[in-house]
Amino acid sequence: MNAIEPRPGHALPAGTPVVIRKQPPEIHCRTPFYLRGAVGEIAEVRGCFRDPSLLAFHKPGLPMRVLYRVRFKQKDVWPEYSGGPNDTVVADIFEHWLDPIDGVKKV
């Protein structure tokens, strides 16, 4: 394991509804374009990792960022999705690319 535990109060709990930020992409951006602006929910907190968008430029990648697995209903990503009603897509999203929708408290 290379991730470290987020400090208390620094991670959104699983189940939190979130929206992916529509912000200008970093040069080495890990947030897929098709998810920008999409609404999903935190599926899992994976811990804190060094920030790959900084590591790519030989920087230390600090501060470390909380990495989440975020689950989206396919219908919420692609309005014309015609697969199964329960189908989902899950992506790994860093904390500085999402916002909680309900002002949920971090745990």
Partner: protein, 238 residues
């Protein structure tokens, strides 16, 4: 490449000077690898120049590079197959595997896999089918499955599996009921995913080796299901 923009650039970010249609000309065949000629100019020159510079400056010797290529080539999906077979047979192992994959694999198979990445095992159930992609590039659990197949890295697979997963799965011969959740995991950061397929019916009493023979590479990516019990008995009779 501008592939970090996912599907938005799928067929528009490189010039095609030939006339065949990439979009739907072959609706019943699995995703094709990218055209080789797409890479035979800039990328190949860049790769060669970089390799020669690293060697001349003594940063990475040609010898070290070839050793690394040999190592990468030595990794095969057989490692993953053994892990899956053991998980099917041994519920305690499966529980530990899901909780702490890399540690459990290293301990149980006396391996010494080290990686700066976190490994995640995605368990298929009767109601959830997992399939893995890296829409940004080609992230893949190489330490367990070896070098990814060419189609896994293709723009075709990477752009379509998140938009129309069931159509892509059908091209692999994988048809799932509508009420099963098809869960696409996009490997966008520091996690690498191994799918733990659901054990095929009729394989109760199979040995670990017999089970491992059913576990294909594609079933651990999630594009296919494991081979059926019948397929091996038929194979054994040949």
């Amino acid at each position: 490449m501008s592939s970090s923009h996912g599907h938005h650039h799928d067929h528009h970010d490189h010039d095609h000077d030939h006339d065949h249609d990439h979009d739907h000309a072959h609706p019943h065949s699995p995703p094709a690898p990218d055209d080789a000629d797409q890479y035979d100019r800039y990328e190949v020159l860049l790769q060669t120049a970089l390799r020669e510079l690293l060697d001349e400056k003594g940063i990475i010797t040609a010898d070290a590079l070839h050793r690394q290529i040999d190592y990468q080539d030595s990794l095969t999906p057989a490692i993953g197959g053994k892990i899956v077979a053991k998980a099917w047979l041994d519920p305690v192992f499966k529980k530990k595997l899901l909780a702490d994959p890399l540690k459990t694999i290293n301990e149980s198979f006396e391996l010494d896999i080290t990686t700066p990445l976190d490994l995640v095992v995605l368990e298929n159930t009767p109601t959830v089918h997992n399939v893995v992609v890296c829409t940004l590039c080609s992230c893949y659990p190489r330490m367990l499955l070896g070098i990814p197949p060419a189609w896994y890295k293709s723009i075709d697979y990477r752009s379509r599996i998140v938009v129309e997963p069931r159509k892509v799965l059908a091209e692999f011969g994988t048809h799932l009921p509508d009420d099963v959740e098809v869960r696409v995991s996009d490997s966008t950061a520091d996690l690498r995913f191994l799918v733990l397929p659901y054990q095929p019916a009729g394989t109760e009493g199979f040995s670990e080796a017999q089970l491992a023979a059913l576990v294909t590479r594609d079933s651990m990516i999630g594009t296919s299901l494991p081979l059926s019990a019948a397929s091996t008995s038929a194979h054994a009779q040949k």
